[in-house]
């Protein structure tokens, strides 16, 4: 006998439970960027003339508007998918006070 369309049926849930990540706090912010060293780290997404060129424009902006901020542009080693501990350490060892990392699309 055909089932009534109004009959209630039970089905399995195809979705799976996701697990939340452990929360990690941000590091304390700077009081000001004046007189500080800001690293701009190109992760190489989009090729060598993408983020790097945007960072050059940011560098120009700081030179014109906040000249006490020292800016350093660096490309990380390898593609955007691989970590690069040497560059992160270089930021710290180079006296980096803050960083911009990107640009991801």
């Amino acid at each position: 006998m055909a089932k009534s369309k109004a009959e209630l049926i039970t089905v399995l849930n195809p979705a799976a439970t996701g697990k939340y990540a452990e929360r990690v706090p941000l590091s304390p912010r700077l009081d000001t960027l004046e007189g500080k060293t800001l690293y701009m780290l190109d992760i190489n997404w989009g090729g060598p003339e993408a983020a790097y060129s945007v960072f050059e424009q940011m560098q120009n902006w700081f030179a014109a508007n906040m000249p006490s901020v020292k800016t350093v542009i660096k490309r990380k080693r390898g593609s955007y998918m691989v970590p690069d501990e040497a560059t992160w350490k270089e930021v710290k060892d180079g006296g980096g006070d803050a960083a911009i990392v990107g640009i991801s699309g």
Partner: protein, 444 residues
């Protein structure tokens, strides 16, 4: 990118701002934060496109508004690095657990459940079979593995979601599979989710060995068309599992700008091992498996290009394949050819093995340095290596634009599959890169 910011913040104590496209900022502050990164990274959204634009456009972006905060871009960056942290940004430890997904959905009418499955984006928007307990139990008879066994924990794009044998059976029911497909489906499930890239990837699923005949897959005439139940359904399960268990949903966790129709079936093919020329091994045997093993191999790629017509005596097939391969990225290739093409290549061109042919392509496919580096994925992946002075990239990156280079310099990255009905000397060159094979027999 968020993991790089997290390392700078957490390990080195350096205040960091992430810069990304607006869609990625939404993902970074939402799903990625909740399920993967756990750190409330501060972002600015850079207008896109960035690559391929002149410096004048980049200047405009920098002097314009950050779409994420609505502030001037440079103000947003300075604020992200100097504004004191909120209580949420200082929080450390495990958050409350996510609401668990119940095993069973609330009882409802068939019509309402069909609507629900679409509303949840659990389907490929073709009709599905609802996974009742009876149907799923019947599907589970296709394997000896227990329903709660974890086949694969899906950590990309986050959430470490367990894909169990039962979840695979649910997707198999939805796609219309038969229980005897389950070992192949479970082997495929180990490779979920689908290629997820803004560049609009797709997947290829290759099946080799006795299982092809055991479940009635079609490696012959119309092997790549919609003419066989197993071929059609197995590839469909891969996408459904990516959406249900993998939680890949457009605009939330997957951002392919064009998408790909290939994802409806994921180019699921069985090699026609019976019609391989003598000396040409089945693909799985090339990869180190035994001829009697049944193996599934999943790859990722974007494109395939057809010869369209018959091979011409004046221009042997490997030369036209070579010409068409110049259009591919050079990251890797899989050539899919009718058995008649394989026979011609062996008998008239002297290719005594697939490896011979792969080697010939690696030595003879050429493109200009300008064209090679003009591809965004190649440039994204390898330009930084060239700038570090690593070969073979450094030389071609510095070369004059019209210098000819060999993009497929690794013959092991060029695979050959023999598929089809021996009706016409047709072939496809594709840019699919096949991964490691999975033994189907382990999932019987």
């Amino acid at each position: 990118m968020s993991r790089f910011a997290k390392i700078l913040e957490q390990q080195y104590g350096i205040p960091t701002v992430g810069a990304a496209a607006e869609t990625m900022v939404k993902y970074g502050t939402g799903y990625d934060f909740l399920y993967t990164n756990g750190m409330p990274i501060r972002y600015v959204a850079i207008p896109f496109p960035v690559a391929g634009q002149p410096a004048s456009v980049h200047k405009r972006y920098v002097e314009g508004i950050d779409p994420h905060s609505g502030k001037p871009m440079m103000t947003a960056i300075i604020d992200a690095l100097t504004k004191p942290l909120t209580e949420q940004e200082k929080f450390a430890g495990m958050p409350p657990e996510a609401m668990p997904e119940p095993r069973l959905l609330k009882p409802d009418t068939e019509e309402n459940l069909h609507h629900l499955f679409k509303d949840k984006d659990w389907t490929d928007y073709n009709p599905i079979v609802l996974p009742t307990e009876e149907r799923v139990a019947a599907m589970l008879k296709g394997t000896s593995h227990k329903p709660d066994e974890v086949v694969n924990t899906i950590s990309w794009p986050g959430g470490a979601r367990d894909l169990t044998v039962e979840k695979a059976a649910v997707a198999a029911v939805m796609a219309g599979a038969k229980p005897e497909y389950m070992p192949v489906i479970l082997a495929v499930a180990t490779q979920v989710p689908f290629g997820n890239s803004t560049s609009s990837m797709a997947n290829m699923i290759v099946v080799n060995g006795p299982i092809v005949k055991e479940i009635g897959m079609n490696p012959g005439t119309n092997a790549m068309g919609p003419h066989n139940d197993a071929n059609a359904v197995i590839g469909r399960v891969f996408t459904i599992l990516s959406k249900t268990v993998g939680n890949l949903h457009s605009g939330k966790t997957t951002f392919s700008t064009l998408g790909s129709n290939l994802q409806y079936n994921n180019v699921t093919i069985a090699e026609n091992e019976d019609l391989l020329p003598e000396g040409w091994q089945p693909f799985h045997v090339q990869m180190g498996f035994k001829p009697g093993d049944s193996v599934v191999t999943v790859g990722t790629g974007w494109t395939y290009i057809s010869s369209v017509g018959e091979v011409q005596k004046a221009y042997p097939p490997q030369k036209l394949m070579r010409d068409y391969m110049r259009s591919l990225t050079g990251l890797g290739a899989t050539i899919v050819m009718d058995p008649t093409v394989a026979a011609l290549l062996k008998d008239t061109q002297g290719f005594n093995s697939k490896q011979d042919l792969s080697k010939w392509f690696s030595e003879n496919v050429e493109t200009t340095a300008e064209s090679y580096w003009g591809n965004g994925v190649v440039s994204t992946m390898f330009a930084s290596l060239a700038l570090q002075g690593l070969e073979p990239y450094a030389t071609s990156y510095k070369a004059p634009p019209d210098t000819l280079i060999k993009p497929f310099n690794n013959p092991r990255a060029i695979q050959v599959l023999v598929v089809g009905g021996a009706i016409q000397t047709t072939w496809f060159v594709t840019d699919f890169r096949l991964g490691r094979g999975v033994l189907v027999d382990d999932w019987k």
